[in-house]
Amino acid sequence: MPCNGFFYAWGEALRSLNRNKWMTIASIGVVVVTLLMLGGFMLVHLNLNHITESVKSQVEIVVYIEDTATLAERNELRERLVAHSALAEVRFVSRDEALRRMKEKLGDLVEGYEGSEENPLPDSFELRTHNPEAVGAVAEELARYPAVAKVDYGKATVEGLFQATRAVQLVALALMIGLAVTAVFLIAHTIRMTVFIRRREIMIMKYVGATNWFIRWPFVLEGLLIGLFGAILPLAGLYYIYRVSLDWVSANLMFLTLVPLPLVMVELSKYLIPLGTGLGILGSAFSMDRFLRV
């Protein structure tokens, strides 16, 4: 594009946005509403993921050691666990440590055992797997090892949790795809309308000898600007909403950790800005082709 054409295209795009103020506002509005919904859903999705990931990473297998096991048997068991490829972390918890932890949790209720020789708790290993979803299979395998009294991993809770998160993720994905497709149609339709309103102008341009790209550029830039504004506004809105939500959650639901604000904004911008501008550009470039055939 020659220099004159470049300035002409930008100037024309800005003038046209201003000239068709109501259509511009409507187009930006459509982009804002759809991207706001999409962004809101992404927020929920991101946080659900974050929560399930953090729950997943806390899933542990506890292997209780037989009281009668010898030192050699205990050492052998430890070596086998450390060498196990599915395990990420192996930690020995002595019966004394287990009792101390229990006291911290339950306080006075374990008062009676204080200093007692009759600690009812066994020695154990706390294990973490590389893949949290593999805990069931790994636990079953470990139960067959010698010197193992019992393996515990909260079977029902863990499996229920994984099934639920998988279902939530699938629904979230389906809804986001549906919303993105709706956004594409809405934006393309709105831009087609702005092009339709200006078909006369396009026809005159063709008659006075404008090339197709000369006509297209201002529309493409216009689409880009509509998409950009349409993405920035919901980002600003979501920033505010998320900040308020974070404050509320940290005050009322302390056990819940949400994705930090900067990370969320980076993640949202990464999708919403290219999506908004891309939709704007594609929408305007393609919806006007019909009017260029003069």
Binding site: Y8, R200, E201, I204, Y207, V208, F214
Partner: protein, 229 residues
């Protein structure tokens, strides 16, 4: 400048020919009226000349180029050499006279300095030197058509084609518009005018091509056919 040989056109496949075996030649610097009843094929002929459509049979050469063989990307450059004037003016009504004329120059990549210099000159040629900043919707029909003429001439085209340029104007304005077209012609521009305005054809005594149901019914040098209508 324009050469038609065995030119045929129909809008629908296997439909009736709107133009039927047209043969004529128009030289540089000529002033030609194309006349004929509605549906005679005048507008279709103009669409062919600006290559909005291509002939189904025969050849049409404009500026020496066979239009049927002209690649699409060359069409804008052909049109920059042809100024067009329409019955309904086809101006951007929400913009000023200056903007409407400048528009045709911007398309060719002209600098704003060139545009600022040339537009007032052309406005003067069409007799509206003080209307540069007037909005088109505030101008009278005659004034709007003069802006249309200014836009057509702004890029110094070799040819102007005007489709019923006086169709929406009163006799006085019609005469003014024809006079401006004639002045362009005197400066060397080839002018083709499709019209129903027989008075004007008789008055100007220019070459007349009479179309009848797509056929060339007459081609007279001095406006004689106008009387035959």
């Amino acid at each position: 400048m324009i050469e038609a040989e065995g030119l045929y056109y129909c809008y629908e496949k296997n439909g009736d020919y709107v133009l039927n075996d047209l043969n004529f030649k128009i030289d540089r610097g000529e002033f030609v009226f194309i006349i004929g009843a509605s549906g005679a094929g005048k507008s279709t002929l103009f669409k062919l000349i600006i290559r909005e459509i291509v002939p189904v049979k025969g050849t049409l050469k404009v500026f020496g180029h066979d239009l049927a063989r002209m690649p699409r990307y060359r069409v804008p450059y052909l049109r920059r050499n042809i100024g067009m004037v329409f019955q309904d003016f086809r101006l951007l009504e929400d913009r000023t006279a200056f903007d409407n004329i400048a528009f045709a120059m911007q398309v060719t990549g002209a600098s704003s300095r060139e545009i600022r210099r040339r537009v007032p000159y052309v406005l003067e040629l069409v007799g509206l030197p003080d209307k540069a900043n007037a909005k088109v919707c505030d101008l009278s029909g005659g004034e709007q058509q003069r802006i249309g003429l200014a836009r057509a001439i702004i890029n110094r085209p070799a040819m102007i084609i005007a489709d019923e340029p006086t169709g929406n104007l009163d006799p006085e304005n019609s005469y003014e518009i024809m006079n401006i077209l004639r002045s362009f012609n005197i400066r060397g521009t080839t002018v083709l005018v499709a019209t129903h305005n027989h008075e004007m054809v008789k008055l100007l005594k220019k070459r007349v091509i009479l179309l009848d149901k797509g056929r060339l019914a007459a081609d007279e040098a001095k406006g004689v056919s106008a009387g035959a209508l």
